[in-house]
């Protein structure tokens, strides 16, 4: 039973296209995240949603638009894709409380823009 699942796992597309990545978690967590991992393996947070509300937006181009239809889903839509968007995108979820902030990660989506 996959806790955090992302689709697709691989995505190859041309510059200028619009694409979406979907994420779902079955852990009952209130908070979901998108992270970008570049070619040097550096992981950077992009967005965080808590119960469908945006709480973190880390200087991400507005071509990237997250959407959370409910607290179990956080999708990422990217407009006008650029070569520099090529990366692995990880979805994660957590249930932060006064003690615990552990996050669970999806398998990642490897996006290649050509």
């Amino acid at each position: 039973d996959t806790a955090v699942s992302q689709t697709p796992k691989y995505l190859v597309t041309q510059m200028g296209n619009d694409k979406s990545i979907k994420c779902e978690q079955n852990l009952g967590h209130d908070t979901m995240y998108w992270y970008k991992q570049d070619s040097k393996k550096f992981l950077k947070i992009m967005f965080s949603y808590n119960n469908k509300e945006l709480i973190i937006n880390e200087t991400v181009p507005n071509r990237f638009s997250p959407k959370s239809p409910d607290k179990a889903h956080l999708n990422l839509h990217i407009n006008s894709l650029e070569l520099g968007d090529s990366a692995v995108y990880f979805c994660a979820s957590s249930q932060p409380n006064s003690v615990n902030t552990e996050a669970f990660f999806g398998q990642g989506t490897r996006l290649t823009v050509v």
Partner: protein, 116 residues
Amino acid sequence: AQSVSQHNHHVILSEAASLELGCNYSYGGTVNLFWYVQYPGQHLQLLLKYFSGDPLVKGIKGFEAEFIKSKFSFNLRKPSVQWSDTAEYFCAAARPGYSSASKIIFGSGTRLSIRP
């Protein structure tokens, strides 16, 4: 600003050697600390975590880490590495509670290569 630093970018060891990967964090107040591992082509998996209590934390696969508050460090150790430990290791930190500060911030990662 909150940050996590990993100073070893690439570590190469022989099998059975001992491992220590450095991690320093810059956070005020209470902090949760994590080590995640990413095997080639795979997603991040939690190795171990520190929330409170005993500063020596034991994780999966024989890994352990020690939280030293005075040094703002959370170094990862393993007494004897195996070839299967070849992976990227990420130290991470987050502030507990519901807020934008509870985002997990990752270090830049350390690539561990084990020679058979």
